[in-house]
């Protein structure tokens, strides 16, 4: 890039240095994921009432975040990529919550 643009790059939210993760990190992550899988299976057999689904989903979310941050390198990506990922989950959230708002409140009243 021209000098002009390089100067901007230091603060450019769309740019990040290419970061290489080594096998060590990956192995750590891999083991973590396997352990979490074990925990979630185990937790499913402990009766916790309403907490069961919550725990299961919480663990799944942790696993997903771990995969995204390291396997998918989001941790080392530019702010742009981070925001992109955020935008995806945000829209997903809007879809779920706003639609659910209809179904939940249908039961409330005479309508």
């Amino acid at each position: 890039m021209s000098a002009h643009n390089d100067a901007m790059n230091t603060t450019n939210p769309e740019h990040a240095e290419h970061h290489i993760l080594g096998p060590g990190t990956y192995t750590t992550i891999y083991v973590t994921l396997l352990i979490l899988t074990g925990i979630t299976v185990g937790a499913a057999f402990i009766p916790m009432g309403v907490l069961n689904p919550i725990v299961a989903l919480a663990i799944a979310s942790v696993k997903a975040v771990v995969v995204m941050l390291w396997f998918m390198h989001v941790k080392y990506q530019s702010r742009l990529i981070k925001m992109t990922v955020g935008a995806g989950f945000f829209t997903f959230f809007v879809l779920i919550m706003m639609t659910m708002s209809d179904y939940i409140s249908r039961a409330w009243g005479q309508w």
């Binding site: 002009h4 995806g88 829209t91 639609t99 708002s101 209809d102 939940i104 409330w108 009243g109 309508w111």
Partner: protein, 560 residues
């Protein structure tokens, strides 16, 4: 070359026709033969392919509109059978929405000009761009197949359980068509977003970009995030039809409204996919022909993003009486009111762009004026529909038909025509015939209002939409509407003819006939395949007319 305008009421500045020549080398004559077009990766050529194909589908859709209006000339169901009529409006809706209006501005003008406007050589993924045209054509082919095989009669909204259990027409073929065309739209949006983020020329900061780029960016977000939900909804409809999975079937415990939620989660944002790029065109045109920077640039830019964002929160306003909970209807109605505000901001900002300007009235400007007036009516009648109690009476009547034709035809189609006329000299190197085009702009404006104004009255009278026959007391207004549609048809056919004519006989346009500021006007017309001979560096804002005046000739970056 940039001599002072000869005439005081026009800014058109074209080279002396006796000596002017078309540039020797440009993207059109860069390579020859049909294959060079079919396998091109040049965004400009793909834009032209799109332009041809969407025009084709527009006239197919228009022919169905003609048949609809012809049938509705009399109250009796006399021209065609009910089933046939139902196929007419379904085909009309599907073709016009998915094959014409959604790709109209982005895939043609956006494809052509976004890279140039930000100083890039091409879109980020040229091959995906070509792929998206092929997907579009495949979608179009499936639609035509559905038509030829016997048609579909679901309406463009595919309401379950009607579409899944009660119709034996080619629903799946049409669903496939929409699924495929949807991916074409996703890829276009994806390409635009990446291009706008990654390919801007040095110095082209976000707030130096033309507003056309901003509005296409906002529309692209909607395409990328909304369309997949339509895709999955369509897949589920197809599964329900083929193996009866029951997710939308009340007799099996499914909820038919779930389909509506998924469908409108896309299709409401889709109406903003349709209008936003058009709004971008209007910003460019108004600024150019009043020779003034757009009033409150940032507000206009952010309002595009706001429309895109809020556009995701209001879909259930299409379901107010369909059995959503009344509490959630309240929320959606309130949010609908909020999403209307950014559009109002835009309208007023455009009006004030004219203030202290130096205004001329070439054809694109006339279309832009038509847009402002008609979109204001269309948008404000949208507010009628967003208002819960009013919607009870108005929903599913011709009032809605009038509302959406005002925004889609009066708004977006006029904006599209404004854009086509505005950029025609750049795309082809030739001017269109000015007085003929003014005449046709006027014709379509008048024809449009005769067609759709009576429909508001019809709607308030209670005439339901998608009706093949209607009570006799509605006939007068329907006759008016049909008469108007004929005028409108003429108004829309004329541009096709004279634009084709101008390809050979139009005056040679030169680089910057409108003396506009955009980067695309600084390069040769028609552009070179690589757009710029050297990477441009942007050191001024969009719409900087002072810069344009002080610019010296040698700074024009490309010579053919």
């Amino acid at each position: 070359m940039m001599s002072a305008p000869i005439n005081n009421n026009t800014i058109v500045n074209i080279p002396d026709q006796r000596t002017a020549k078309m540039p020797k080398r440009n993207y059109i004559n860069n390579e020859h033969g049909l294959l060079s077009w079919l396998f091109t990766a040049d965004h400009k050529r793909i834009a032209i392919l799109y332009l041809i194909s969407i025009t084709f589908f527009f006239f197919i859709g228009g022919a169905f509109a003609g048949l609809i209006r012809l049938e509705l000339l009399t109250p009796q169901p006399d021209l065609v059978a009910s089933d046939t009529y139902n196929k007419f409006f379904t085909m009309h809706g599907i073709v016009m929405i998915f094959l014409f209006l959604v790709p109209s501005v982005p895939a043609t003008l956006g494809n052509f000009f976004i890279p140039i406007m930000i100083g890039a050589k091409d879109l980020a993924f040229p091959k995906i761009n070509l792929l998206s045209w092929y997907l579009y054509m495949a979608g179009g082919t499936f639609t035509l197949a559905a038509l030829v095989l016997g048609g579909v009669d679901t309406g463009w909204t595919f309401t379950t359980p009607l579409s899944t259990h009660y119709l034996n027409t080619h629903v799946i073929t049409a669903a496939t068509a929409i699924f495929i065309a949807g991916f074409s739209s996703i890829f276009t949006g994806l390409n635009f977003i990446v291009t706008i983020h990654r390919m801007r020329a040095p110095g082209m900061t976000w707030f130096r970009m033309p507003l056309f780029v901003w509005s296409n960016y906002a529309a692209s977000i909607l395409m990328v995030l909304g369309t997949p939900v339509l895709a999955i909804a369509i897949v589920l409809v197809a599964l329900e039809r083929t193996i009866g999975i029951g997710v939308f079937d009340p007799t099996k415990g499914g909820d038919p409204l779930l389909f509506q939620h998924l469908f409108w989660f896309y299709s409401h944002p889709a109406v903003y996919i349709m209008i936003l790029p058009g709004m971008g065109v209007i910003s460019e045109v108004i600024s150019t022909f009043s020779r003034k920077r757009v009033f409150g640039y940032t507000a206009v830019a952010f309002s595009s993003v706001a429309i895109a964002l809020f556009g995701f929160f209001v879909w259930a306003h299409h379901m107010f009486i369909m059995g959503v909970s009344n509490y959630s209807a309240l929320v959606f109605s309130l949010l609908t009111m909020l999403v209307a505000v950014p559009s109002a901001i835009k309208i007023f900002n455009w009006a004030f762009t004219l203030q202290k300007g130096s205004i001329t009235f070439e054809t694109p400007m006339l279309y832009a004026f038509a847009f402002i007036g008609l979109f204001t009516i269309g948008g404000l009648t949208g507010v009628f529909l967003g208002s819960l109690g009013m919607d009870i009476h108005l929903t599913e009547t011709y009032f809605i038909v009038a509302h959406f034709h005002y925004v889609m035809v009066g708004g977006m189609l006029m904006a599209f025509l404004a854009g086509v006329h505005f950029w025609w000299p750049k795309m082809t190197g030739r001017m269109y015939p000015e007085s003929l085009s003014k005449l046709s702009a006027l014709t379509s404006f008048i024809g449009f209002n005769i067609t759709f104004l009576p429909q508001f009255i019809l709607g308030y009278l209670g005439m339901p939409r998608r009706y093949h026959a209607y009570p006799a007391e509605y006939q007068v207004l329907n006759v008016l509407s049909t008469a108007g549609a004929t005028v409108l048809g003429v108004g829309f056919t004329l541009p096709m003819l004279y634009l084709a004519w101008s390809l050979k006989y139009g005056a040679i346009a030169g680089n910057n006939p409108w003396q506009a500021t955009g980067l695309e006007w600084q390069i040769q017309s028609p552009p070179l395949t690589e757009n710029f001979t050297e990477t441009p560096i942007m050191d001024h804002e969009a719409y900087d007319y002072e810069w344009l005046e002080n610019k010296t000739a040698h700074e024009v970056t490309t010579v053919g």
